[in-house]
């Protein structure tokens, strides 16, 4: 385990050292009774949270009965962009009975508001921020009656919170990696998607997001474990609700409903090559390669280039199994084209270098 998250007072904004905890603003949205109000509202926020950010947090946070699980240990996640362009990641859970005791559990939402630098250090992965928030809430418990001023929160970026899940295999008989990649393709096609996933929703979300180029995922509004509500305006909702009721509610909305065990994307559709490459890389445990591709190489490129990039990566991987003649043919093909994007130029250079190295390896040793 890494160092526990702690609340630090009076720290300058966004001043975390490269290896230290990440400081960010925080807010708490829940239902309490106080002298100034009753019911669900932002009950506390650190001074850096602006009024328009509180409005957006109020609009998007789940209220009574809005978590998918109705038991005490149900957990939800929300991640969205605030009007100030800062990113908000929310850890939602139940915190005892609803304060009016009219039935049901109180929904508690602890929100971390990250500036661009802090969000970048989490590689735009809300599941990692969520894990850091979970560590903090496990240590302090839900803060229902904040004493005094709420200061910035220090989120620990540890291997436990920051590393993507390495599990890709079937869960409960369902190969959810296929579903994750199909959803990633939907999102690249600018669709709004709901995934019905009774189990492993956080891992599913993480796999979806890490299969997207950084610039796509860093502005993606998502929720997991929170009931679908059109007013929350999320691009991706991973939920567990009765399907027929959900279908009724989304009628007439341009929303794609997928089941975790449903069919994957149609072969030959957009981003099929990208989907195929990432499926293979995830299954081969090449998460470092996926991360490099999505966060470094694909920076600043349009989604149209992803299939071309995937094709280059496939060809690069294939070099190891090709005969010298085939390698020369491949080299000749790539030497005559000028890739339109920097990512493709880099990848083609790497391909050509690998081909050269491979040909040298295959060269029969000379006598002298």
């Amino acid at each position: 385990m890494g160092r526990p998250a702690t609340v630090i007072g009076g720290a300058p904004a966004g001043s975390a050292a490269a290896d230290g905890p990440i400081l960010c603003d925080q807010a708490i949205f829940t239902s309490t009774h106080s002298g100034v109000g009753e019911g669900y509202r932002v009950v506390a926020a650190s001074p850096g949270i602006r009024a328009i950010e509180k409005v957006e947090i109020t609009r998007r946070s789940p209220s009574h009965g809005s978590l998918c699980g109705q038991d005490g240990d149900a957990v939800g996640l929300e991640a969205y962009t605030l009007p100030t362009r800062r990113r908000c990641v929310a850890y939602c859970c139940h915190a005892g009975c609803e304060q009016t005791a009219r039935g049901g559990l109180r929904v508690y939402t602890h929100v971390a508001v990250l500036d661009r630098a802090a969000w970048g250090r989490f590689l735009a992965n809300p599941v990692a921020v969520h894990a850091a928030l979970a560590q903090h809430i496990r240590a302090t418990g839900p803060v229902l009656r904040p004493a005094g001023r709420l200061e910035k929160i220090a989120l620990a970026l540890t291997p436990a919170t920051a590393s993507p899940s390495s599990t890709n295999g079937p869960v409960g008989g369902v190969h959810w990696l296929d579903c994750a990649l199909a959803v990633a393709s939907d999102l690249l096609s600018r669709r709004q998607v709901i995934v019905l996933a009774p189990a492993t929703p956080l891992r599913l979300l993480e796999k979806v997001l890490l299969s997207l180029p950084l610039e796509v995922r860093e502005n993606l509004d998502v929720s997991v474990g929170v009931k679908f509500s059109a007013s929350r305006k999320m691009r991706l909702v991973v939920t567990a609700e009765p399907e027929t009721e959900l279908q009724r509610r989304i009628a007439g909305l341009d929303v794609l409903l997928r089941r975790l065990d449903g069919p994957a994307g149609q072969p030959g559709t957009a981003f099929a090559a990208w989907e195929r490459l990432l499926r293979r890389w995830w299954r081969e445990g090449r998460s470092q390669d996926v991360t490099r591709l999505t966060t470094e190489l694909c920076r600043g490129i349009s989604c149209d280039a992803l299939d071309r990039i995937a094709a280059i990566c496939e060809d690069t991987d294939a070099v190891d199994g090709l005969a010298p003649e085939e390698i020369r043919s491949l080299t000749a093909r790539y030497s005559t084209v000028y890739p339109p994007t920097k990512a493709e130029q880099t990848l083609v250079q790497e391909l050509l270098q690998k081909a050269t190295d491979r040909l040298a390896d295959l060269q029969p040793p000379t006598d002298n």
Binding site: S31, G35, V36, G37, E38, G39, Y40, R41, A51, K54, V55, T58, R59, P62, S63, H64, G65, S66, G96, C97, E98, Q99, T100, A101, R102, G103, G104, K227, S229, A230, S231, R232, R248, R249, A251, G252, L253
Partner: protein, 298 residues
């Protein structure tokens, strides 16, 4: 207004939301913008006109859901000159929710803030007199108090409330009478904020008052029975800020007291850190009067 019961719609645009006016897809169940049910438009009984909207507003936990549930139940049981016919099964949900919970001696659960989870009641209201029947289509949403509070604090947080306030033909403003009687300023300030908000929505200037019929309803009056004797005086004394604003800004306002619960018990156990209020029996008093007054003004 006399009119026959009709079910066919021809002239009306079934894709335009009744509340916010946004155009939706034909198959949409809820408005994409404000989450109001599209059935409010499609189920309309009069192809020439749209139903009137009456809103019940109040702070969180003041008893809006209980009030609305009992009101609709009384109307549908034809206990007075008024009767109500629900249009669409969804309209019965709030009534059923309240009656079934209260029959089990429980208050209904909190209304979620998400507008797509609200109950909407669409009723044909008929007033029978010896000589004629007057029919009126009414839509009454069960709004979450927290959403109202958030909207009052920052207008346009929930667009549906802004649209409702602008579309409303009448309003019932519910206030917690025992809280006010105990010296809390919370109900008073909530009422003042609500009226100020309405003032802004209706863009009333200093010379013109808001003419929308507004019934100020003092709820939970069983816990301070004196407000039944003279609701006006109770408001003037205990909710003085609201009273003054009503006098200066509202052109059509009346004051009422009501209660739904006859006696209340409180339950807890050593394992629980909260107290559960238990409505032992219902004793409805003053529920219909504010509604009847508003309907008469429409």
């Amino acid at each position: 207004m006399n009119r026959p019961y009709t079910t066919q719609t021809q002239e009306r645009d079934d894709t335009q939301c009744l509340i916010c006016g946004t155009r939706n897809e034909d198959a949409a169940v809820q408005c994409i913008e404000c989450s109001a049910p599209m059935a409010l438009v499609r189920d309309g009984t009069d192809p020439q006109s749209r139903p009137k909207v009456v809103t019940i507003l109040g702070d969180s936990n003041v008893g809006k859901t209980v009030y609305l549930g009992f009101l609709l139940d009384m109307l549908s049981q034809h206990t007075t000159d008024y009767q109500a016919i629900p249009i669409g099964a969804y309209s019965v949900n709030v009534q059923q929710n309240v009656i079934s919970h209260m029959a089990c001696r429980m208050f209904p659960p909190k209304t979620p803030m998400e507008a797509d989870q609200w109950h909407w009641a669409y009723y044909q209201i008929c007033k029978r007199t010896s000589r004629k029947e007057e029919w009126l289509d009414l839509v009454i949403p069960d709004i979450a108090g927290e959403s109202l509070t958030a909207e009052l604090a920052n207008p346009n947080t929930f667009r549906v409330i802004n649209s409702l306030a602008g579309k409303s033909a009448g309003m019932l403003l519910l206030l917690d009478a025992p809280q006010a009687a105990n010296g809390s300023s919370q109900p008073d300030f909530f009422g003042v904020k609500m009226l100020t908000y309405l003032d802004a929505v209706h863009r009333a200037d200093r010379r013109s008052r808001v003419q929308m019929p507004t019934a100020v309803v003092l709820c939970k009056a069983d816990m301070c029975p004196e407000c039944f004797d003279d609701p006006r005086h109770f408001t003037e004394v205990n909710l003085s800020r609201l009273w003054n604003l009503c006098q200066s800004r509202l052109g059509n306002v009346e004051f009422f007291a009501c209660s739904a619960v006859g006696s209340l018990a409180y339950a807890t156990s050593p394992e629980e850190d909260f107290v559960t209020p238990i409505p032992l029996h219902t004793a409805l008093r003053g529920v219909l009067e504010p509604f009847e007054w508003v309907v008469q003004q429409l």
